[in-house]
Symmetry: C2
Subunit: 428 residues, 2 copies
């Protein structure tokens, strides 16, 4: 009889329960593919009595999750507690220090402590895997670190927060306002009661920082991500964008520029007919561009019990098969500290101004833009009620610094009634 | 100094040259990621004098590729000769028997001899990897065998021949006939002078048979793929399909039905606004449906020097990192001999009839369809010149057996002037 690979699960929320279901339902399949049986030996969660729809009677129970990481009968610790500090961090650190492999779905933990944890794992010659932390069921970490490992990665980008994509696509489809769609999303369980982590772009930025580290061989630098949420996107913007052949997505982009690593998580306009433009609902999409492979697009469910548990168990299968690669694709000690890019790449922008409906206002705007080197590609003024004239401008390529200077001057004009909106148009 | 992983390359066509470029250009990157240097030690091809745009002077040359597989200084044999028998087969068999890992881009070889070669590799405890054989640069074999390994796979499908997709999308975009577009594709190098392997569906069927084996744990059964090419697809069909919200794709579908494995490679209608419908040009797309993960879509370049070399080198990186999993994801000896499904799943169909323009003809068709349980969903008769009336019918779901029976009766009618066309509408 082959020895089993023995799992402990810290956290029995949706994902933890999904993992239990896979192990219980697919025992034969996992054994055939892994070359050894996979079994759960111990679990831990806050409440022992809660009904999670799965039979936990065959597993040891620990009230303190950290105790799981100390058990002699555990080979792999699965951390699905969540949170960047507290018990999740303690469990993971203890497991690694005790020579146990760790599989986690915790993007916040790795975005903040990734470098230290990777070092700890590699010092102890164990795996620390996090496929489930980025884009749910999509095997993107594996694609980047393994399948595309022979490429110099040029850009990695994507829609990595299902909540935001749901809100934006429902706003366009139904014509409902941001606040109303957010409320619906909360009722459906697609958004938290405090939605800031999602709609503010932080959750997606956690994920982007992990992808950037694996793509470019740099230390995780969550603090280096320029983050802008979707809270200021209005139905007007969505309709204007659609009119001109675009959709608005909360898009993460990481690229290695001449002066360092650029990481942005912000609303962007993408062509309606591009793969990103077509992405509906809570799906995720990640696009990787490598110097030999060209462009690879991966799409799938970005969250949920089944997809996240699938990703966790994919990592477990790798461990069972003896795959032991460095956490971010190359040894932690060789990961360079990221220099943050200041220049950014030039881009086209969508601008929305709310202007006083007076003679000469448009001329003043155009002149100011021109003086700062911002060249106008298309301009539209829509019908309006009252004294506020909404004006939309698509620019030609310009640096963000020049654009911001021009917008600063315009914002200070009496005839500019609201802070101008600028949304980048991303080339995909 | 860490020991190098030493490669031999059998075949120096486009892909072979691409592999040389990657190794020469990305030495440091590969070493950092693989944990050891990757070097080429020997190569072989038909002509030694041909200029391939790469410097081969540092490598030993063998006139006979099989000698590469016998060299003591080779760890990994890369086979990019092609062809299901002859030198490719001899090289791969010799390498495996001599305890060398093999990476191949050869779909025909594995589609025909996959089970024997997998057995040989596993008996000799070496890897036999074939990511480059399916969908070019898309890491789909890795996704199926590793990332999604915790799922019971329910269906795998996709567009896996860039030549066919190019022809079909250009026909729709330009309104040109099949024969004209095929000639252009041949001049552009997208199609062979004998295009049968591509347009007849055989190349894509090779790939589908490999995906089916990895997805369902069955022995490769290329002979079990129902193959239909795109040669009978007319501009009329493409326009009619577009009119009704569909595009025609050469689509491969493999699923495990109640009575066995179904493998089909045939033109299908897919919704214009689906990922498959949006796929343009020579790109490939593979869709995997797993019981926990749901639907994952992968898109990318399906052929060409860079993408194929990227896939080959991804496999080499796995070998360098010590990943050694069974060829088709579980030991060859455990792969079940596939029972071929006879029933097939019911589906909706697009039917095109060329009928004599006489009274009562339509009634006869409708009656015959109805008598065989083929229910009509939509019907269109287009303007026509002359005495032939083209009639398009979309059916409701029906079994292929019932449909074929009905079409056989109709084809025998004097008023049916051409053999009816039936194209499946695929649910995606």
């Amino acid at each position: 009889m082959t020895k089993s690979l023995r799992l402990a699960i810290a956290g029995l929320g949706t994902v933890g329960a999904g993992i239990v279901k896979i192990v219980q339902q697919h025992g034969d399949l996992l054994t055939a593919r892994a070359g050894q049986p996979i079994e759960i030996v111990a679990v831990s969660a806050r409440s022992r009595s809660k009904d999670r729809g799965v039979d936990l009677s065959g597993y040891a129970w620990e009230d303190d999750a950290v105790e799981l990481a100390r058990r002699d009968d555990v080979d792999v610790l699965i951390e699905v507690i969540g949170g960047e500090d507290g018990p999740a961090k303690a469990v993971v650190e203890t497991a690694l220090a005790n020579g146990k492999h760790v599989v986690t779905a915790n993007k916040a933990l790795l975005a903040i402590h990734g470098q230290n944890l990777a070092t700890l794992a590699e010092e102890n010659h164990v795996a620390l895997r996090f496929e489930a932390a980025v884009a749910g069921g999509i095997p993107i970490v594996k694609a980047l670190t393994e399948g595309l490992a022979a490429n110099k990665i040029e850009r990695v980008m994507g829609v990595m927060n299902g909540t935001c994509n749901y809100i934006l696509t429902v706003m366009e489809a139904t014509g409902a306002d941001y606040a109303d769609v957010l409320r619906d999303a909360q009722e459906l369980g697609y958004a938290e009661s405090d939605p800031t982590v999602d709609v503010g772009g932080f959750d997606a930025a956690h994920k982007l920082s992990l992808l950037a580290a694996t793509a470019f061989g740099t230390q995780v630098d969550f603090g280096g991500v320029k983050i802008e949420g979707i809270q200021r996107i209005t139905l007007t913007d969505i309709k204007n964008a659609a009119d001109m052949g675009f959709r608005i997505k909360l898009l993460g982009v990481a690229s290695m520029n001449d002066d360092g690593l650029e990481q942005r998580m912000q609303p962007c306009l993408v062509p309606t007919n591009s793969p990103l433009g077509m992405l509906e609902g809570v799906s995720n999409m990640v696009i990787v561009e490598g110097d030999y492979v060209g462009q690879i697009v991966l799409q799938g469910p970005g969250a949920g019990e089944g997809p996240t548990a699938s990703a966790v168990m994919g990592d477990v299968m790798d461990i069972a098969r003896g795959l032991l690669i460095p956490v971010f694709g190359q040894p932690a000690v060789t990961l360079a500290k990221a220099t943050r890019s200041n220049i950014g790449m030039d881009a086209e922008y969508y601008l929305r101004f709310s202007l006083a409906d007076e003679a000469g206002v448009m001329a003043a705007i155009s002149t100011t833009l021109g003086e700062h080197g911002v060249s106008i590609n298309r301009m539209r003024q829509y019908n309006h009620d009252g004294d506020i004239a909404p004006v939309i401008i698509l620019t030609h390529e310009v640096s963000r610094a020049q654009l911001d200077e021009a917008l600063g001057v315009i914002a200070a004009m009496d005839t500019c009634l609201e802070k101008p909106i600028a949304i980048r148009i991303e080339t995909v």
